[in-house]
Amino acid sequence: MAIKNNSGRIWLALPLLVLLIISVVPFLWMAVSSLKSLRQLYSVPPQWLPDPATFSNYSKVLFESNIPRYFLNSTIISVGSTALALCFAIFAAYGFARFNFKGKVWAQSFVLVGQMLPTATIIVPLYFVLSYFKLINTYLGLILVYLVLTLPLSVWMLTGYFKSIPRELEEAAIIDGASRLSILFKINLPLIVPGIVAVVLYSFVATWNEFVFALAFATDRSMKTLPIGLAEFSSEVDTDWGAIMAASFIMTVPIALIFLALQRLFVGGVMSGATKG
């Protein structure tokens, strides 16, 4: 019995281990490489640990490149578009989850159409629209473009969360004299915190890492974002891998911090105790 149990555990642990290696090793390699000099990076056979460790890559990225500015741009655009996506998604999803109106099914499916088109196909139309409104190379321009990217899935995710709240809770609140907005903000939102966290993470990560739209719509040096900044270290003649690794590390830190901070809120169980059956 014990043996059987142990062999079962191995079969569970092995895939987990493989998954862990696949996801962690590149990250570690990046962290380690960012502390190596260019010569150590190119050494054959590879030198596993930096010896001596150097912070020159970091000082180059922080003080000699445009990365700090790109970091600021990325932060403004990602925070802005995430906040806007969350606002719209909450109201749209609540509407879809709780109200019956003409064309609801149609509207709900149409929300996803943008998601189905390959990114490349909408670049040109979006460029026309943005330039018509003079939004090329502006924060607002990229924030709006990223809504196209993140809003559809955010709406769908939140609709599911809203639907999982028993209708009786809302009816109890209606009887208690709550308006629709109080119901949404005082009853429903506290109950879908895990959903909101999921949407924030998804939307922030998606915009933080986005490359193609940023490349197309932020051509000015003062408006570029981090992914574009990373690419700038690589030119036709040579690639500064040390700087790329250091910049990548810097780019990864905010995401890691957000995940760590919000991890606790991911845990479900908020709904338990509301109703029975």
Binding site: I174, G177, P190, M271, G273, K276
Partner: protein, 363 residues
């Protein structure tokens, strides 16, 4: 406190009508139970009184004011739901004070009112807990507390006890009844359980398929059911029925399909011969030795002793007849016994309409 008047209220969903013009008068301070099998429209009617469901026709008045188009919060009602519907992220105290909080009542006053309601319901020690930390009975009590705190004109209960176990249900039944005696708030209570209806109501409204079958006090319904449906629905174990014909005359008798003959009480003298259904409650059927004059011979199917009394379920021709006896019966299944009906207590129901047949004195 207030009266509630339901006049000619109808409800339809598209072309399907689920409530067909119901009239009910509920007096100030009365405890009215809406009872009926599932799908009879009792919850829909309650939700129309609450304002959670639109009224398709007719009028609902609370305290003399037509409230058809008033939103729930203007109706001054409180409702207890079958699933409790407690706000899971709020403590017991917050749950109970939520409606007052929305009305912007000062915090100190809210605390006082919540405290008082908690004392009535024995929830003082639980005020800081979350719903998930409570048992089913406690949650039900909090749901009631939420209603009490507001001191509304009308309490509405939608099958509040159906999620509790049998023992707790009996206890909560008494508690709700006691609460009503204490607060004297007009109450409309929905249940499918006729025992709950019988034990709690001042007035019972029996509903079936969107129609009112009968309105009356519990014992009225028990003693003089308006029709076969009410007769069969109210009372546990249910009334026995035998199909057959009435043979009228100076000494009217009822003859079942297999010739089983029951003498009819004198109130039926003068009744015309016609097909009918005879109804007799189990406590009016007694087990006697086979061959006793006036008795019918039946075969024992099952004997169910409950301690205080014994249920004897028998087969009499094509019908199943239950007898309740205070004495302990030593009977075997398959054994033949005599059944004797308490003649004055039998009911007759008209064939076709299923209405109770009565001979009005003086006719």
């Amino acid at each position: 406190m207030a009266t509630v008047t339901v006049s000619d209220v109808k409800k339809d969903y598209g072309s399907v009508q689920v409530i067909h013009g119901i009239d009910i008068d509920i007096e100030d301070g009365e405890f009215v139970v809406l009872v009926g099998p599932s799908g009879c429209g009792k919850s829909t009617l309650l939700r129309m009184i609450a304002g959670l469901e639109e009224i398709s026709g007719g009028e609902v008045k609370i305290a003399g004011k037509v409230v058809n188009d008033a939103p729930p919060k203007q109706r001054d009602i409180a409702m207890v739901f079958q699933n409790y519907a407690l706000y899971p992220h709020m403590t017991v105290a917050k749950n109970m004070g939520f409606s007052l909080h929305l009305q912007k009542v000062p915090k100190k006053e809210i605390d006082q009112k919540v405290q008082r309601a908690a004392e009535i319901l024995g929830l003082e020690a639980l005020l800081d807990r979350l719903p998930k930390q409570l048992s089913g009975g406690q949650r039900q009590r909090v749901a009631m507390g939420r209603a009490i705190v507001r001191a509304p004109q009308v309490f509405l209960f939608d099958e509040p006890l159906s999620n509790l176990d049998a023992k707790l249900r009996v206890q909560m039944r008494a508690e709700i009844r006691e609460l009503h005696q204490r607060l004297r708030t007009t109450t409309v209570y929905v249940t499918h359980d006729q025992v709950e209806a019988m034990t709690m109501a001042d007035k019972i409204v029996v509903l079936r398929s969107g129609y009112v079958e009968q309105i009356g006090s519990p014992l009225d319904l028990y003693d003089t059911p308006a029709n076969r449906f009410v007769a069969g629905f109210i009372g546990s174990p249910a009334m026995n029925f035998i199909e057959g014909t009435v043979q009228g005359g100076a000494e009217p008798v009822f003859v079942g399909r297999e010739g089983e003959t029951v003498k009819l009480p004198s109130k039926f003298v003068g009744i015309g011969s016609q097909p009918a259904t005879l109804g007799v409650r189990p406590e009016h059927v007694s087990v006697v030795p086979v061959g006793t004059p006036g008795s019918l011979t039946a075969k024992v199917m099952v004997v169910e002793p409950t301690g205080a009394e014994t249920l004897v379920i028998t087969r009499l021709g094509p019908s199943q007849i239950t007898a309740v006896s205070k004495e302990r019966q030593r009977l075997q299944s398959g054994q033949e016994i005599g059944l004797s009906f308490e003649v004055p207590a039998v009911h007759l129901f008209e064939h076709g309409t299923a209405r109770e047949l009565r001979i009005i004195p003086g006719h």
